[in-house]
């Protein structure tokens, strides 16, 4: 076991040393172009007088002790900045509240979290402060994040945010059930059908007794990885059209539909879709579920009767998955003193030590490459061995697709998927309609 752990650690070390490959971008593009920054006057970014600032976050009640501990540590570590942490709600609520404050021009927080898909829209609108001068003025080591994460939190070369609580899509599975059935999680998408047919159990009346898997029908993010790995350009390189009408997209849509039609997979929708999915898995009525890796702690804590495993999602020749979770940003409309204080707190929240506290206290991943080289990284993997599935694939985690019309595209796509899988809409008829609508949105 120890040797195995060491091997894992060595693998991590190798991965961490492959800096150029780690978190590489979604396409074979040139590396991130960091904006040309003129020399900055560091004194401009100093906090000169006592100030109280507000941080808006989306960490629910279960993390309030951890939030309090981290914020109090910061407040006690210096005497100029006092941070007040405010839980606003989920990412959608944080977005609405932030946008309302931005439009009003008042009531903006000094620092705020944002779900990764918002980076492009916020960046394009100028809502976020460009962090490059702050990074340069304070010598913040941004390269320790890895290229993919930097790219995911930047917009057109401007570092408009920093990676904070990062996750990816993952398949949680019942390890005990897998052992009893002698089943391995497939690595290829084409093998999913066969795999699901083996793990799904049916009642005498033909209804499903134990689902092979549950797919989250409330968020298209979970489907992106299947489509990307099957060669679909969700947004073509021209930025104004989609490849959804292509053969690969139609086949992928039909394949997932086939799992659902056969009763292998459950398409969970609605506001309580997530809780239904979780409960079904906990009750051992589902062999596996596809969900965010950030819920690892939750699943482990709730599944008392069996061991929870994590597996990389079955893919193709590529094994792409995408960054989820949130970034931290400073609203640009704030005054300079507030922004300087916010930067101090932001750099503290994203520091290596504090990042490890987040990673251990929640289900989010460590974001710093250097962590992997330390004893802390080794300890982390010892405590959460299922994370090996993620650590082994760090170079396959890509940034989100960045487009200012992304939200509209995502909503259209998700609604069509829901119509195909829940309402039985014909895929051959629906896909061209969906493509036309998405193209119109992208062209606008």
């Amino acid at each position: 076991m120890k040797k195995r752990g060491e091997r894992v650690f060595c693998a991590l070390l190798v991965v961490s040393l492959c800096v150029s490959g780690m978190f590489a971008g979604g396409t074979k593009e040139a590396p991130v172009k960091q904006q040309e920054i003129p020399k900055v006057d560091a004194s401009k970014y100093e906090v000169t007088k006592p100030i109280e600032i507000t941080w808006w976050h989306a960490l629910e009640n279960q993390y309030s002790d951890l939030v309090d501990e981290i914020v109090n540590d910061f407040n006690n570590s210096q005497d100029k900045i006092k941070v007040k942490a405010e839980y606003i709600g989920n990412y959608a609520t944080v977005n609405e509240t932030l946008v309302a404050a931005q439009v009003a021009g008042t009531g903006l927080p000094a620092l705020v979290v944002a779900n990764t898909p918002y980076v492009a829209q916020y960046g394009a609108s100028g809502l976020c402060e460009d962090l490059n001068p702050y990074i340069q003025a304070t010598g913040f080591d941004i390269n320790d994040f890895g290229e993919g994460m930097i790219k995911a939190s930047a917009y057109e070369g401007k570092q408009v945010s920093l990676p904070f609580l990062i996750s990816t899509q993952i398949m949680y599975y019942n390890k005990d059930m897998a052992k009893a059935k002698g089943i391995e999680i497939p690595t290829k998408f084409k093998d999913m059908n066969e795999f699901l047919s083996k793990v799904t159990e049916f009642n005498a009346d033909g209804s499903t007794k134990v689902w092979g898997t549950i797919v989250p029908g409330w968020d298209q993010w979970y489907f992106e990885t299947f489509f990307l790995n099957n060669g679909v350009n969700i947004i073509n390189p021209d930025g104004i059209s989609t490849d959804f009408g292509g053969k690969a997209s139609i086949e992928t849509t039909k394949e997932i539909g086939d799992w659902i039609k056969k009763g292998y997979a459950y398409f969970a929708v609605g506001k309580d879709g997530s809780s239904i999915m979780r409960q079904t898995f906990i009750d051992q009525k589902a062999f596996s579920v596809i969900h965010t890796s950030s819920l690892y702690n939750t699943y482990v804590n709730l599944c008392k009767n069996f061991e929870v495993g994590m597996a990389w999602l079955p893919a193709t020749d590529t094994k792409k998955q995408e960054i989820g979770g949130c970034v931290l940003l400073i609203p640009a409309k704030n005054d300079q003193q507030t922004k300087n204080a916010a930067w101090q707190f932001l750099s503290y929240l994203c520091s290596k030590e504090v990042n490890m506290k987040w990673a251990e206290g929640t289900g989010y991943m460590p974001t710093r490459k250097s962590v992997l080289e330390t004893q802390e990284g080794k300890d982390f993997l010892a405590k959460k061995p299922a994370f090996k599935a993620i650590f082994d694939n760090l170079d396959n985690i890509y940034p989100r697709i960045q487009n200012k019309n992304w939200n509209q595209l995502a909503k259209i796509w998700m609604n069509y998927l829901s119509e195909f899988y829940n309402n039985g809409k014909d895929i051959d008829t629906g896909i061209p309609q969906m493509t036309e609508e998405i193209n119109e949105v992208l062209e606008d």
Binding site: Q121, A268, G270, S275
Partner: protein, 301 residues
């Protein structure tokens, strides 16, 4: 009339008008200015996150009526009218039935009346959260009773066929008491003479209901119809909390769609054309209802 200057009557009128000026200023500021602003935004390409915008002529209007927006406009109209029909039925028919029951057996029923009316005082968002729990597929009370009676669990909020019914359950729970109280007050104001005369003629309960009660309640019915219709067309909170417009846009009512364009897509331009179309629609329907009801409503007391 004074020899020179203003007539005393005109002066009175001016003084009266002067008293209304503060109210008029507030109405202009908070009602008519936003409407004018909305019209202006509908001709721009304003993204909510940006501080600037350009004028784009009729582009947004074309998108709404001839572009991809039409499909969703039609869907939201369908969904909203369906919801309205449900709420009107519950408030008018359900309210009337309860009012007739509680009016007939009024001794000791005041507590029951209060119980039926009480949900109206519960905030919609709080009530919606409670209903989320009641309707939960795995742990909800409703499914518990259904399974106890031998039925199968229903995914109330996850299926297009049941999501709207679920929202209407909440609406009914809150609105039926209001309809009942309004009807009850109206029923009690109908002069007893009519019923006594009908009794002398040997009229049955149904004849009296058809010939006296319902005609005499027509102003109340019109009032309830118009107010309930307008409020039902503006339904938002219950949809936002319970379904978010889904699944498959099956509960995407008009106001939710406006909100979604503005706050989720940041398309303030598209949200404003939707809002204006909604404003015109409500205006036309309300005016038509008032016009059509002229001569059909009995205002005798």
């Amino acid at each position: 009339m004074t020899k020179k200057g203003i007539k005393p009557r005109t002066l009175d009128h001016l003084q009266d008008f002067g008293c209304t000026i503060p109210a008029l200023i507030l109405i202009l500021m908070f009602t008519y200015f936003p409407i004018l602003k909305l019209i202006q935004i509908s001709f721009t390409n304003w993204n909510l996150l940006n501080d600037h915008y350009d004028y784009v002529g009729l582009k947004n209007w074309k998108w709404l009526f001839t572009g991809s927006g039409r499909k969703y406009l039609v869907n939201s109209l369908k969904v909203t009218f369906l919801y309205s029909a449900g709420e009107l039925t519950i408030t008018l028919f359900g309210g009337l039935v309860l009012a007739l029951i509680f009016n007939t057996m009024h001794k000791g029923f005041s507590a029951l009346r209060a119980i039926v009316f009480m949900p109206k005082y519960v905030a919609m968002s709080s009530a919606a959260v409670i209903f989320l729990w009641i309707l939960n597929t795995d742990n909800g009370v409703l499914n518990y009773f259904i399974t106890r009676l031998g039925g199968r669990r229903v995914d109330w909020l996850g299926q297009s066929s049941t999501a709207m019914i679920s929202i209407l359950m909440l609406t009914g729970w809150r609105a039926i008491g209001y309809g009942m109280i309004v009807y009850l007050a109206a029923i009690r104001s109908i002069p007893k003479d009519y019923y006594e005369a009908a009794d002398l003629d040997g009229a049955s309960y149904w004849t009296k209901l058809r010939g006296i009660t319902l005609p005499m309640l027509s102003p109340t019915t019109l009032f309830l119809f118009v107010t309930t219709f307008i409020s039902s067309m503006k339904v938002f909170q219950s949809v936002d909390v319970m379904t978010g417009g889904g699944p498959n846009r099956s509960t995407e009512v008009f106001v939710y769609q406006i909100y979604s364009y503005a706050m989720e897509d940041f398309r303030m331009d598209r949200a404003s054309v939707m809002a204006l179309a909604f404003f015109i629609l409500l205006l036309v329907i309300t005016a038509s209802t008032m016009k059509l009801s002229n001569g059909r409503v009995n205002y005798d007391t």
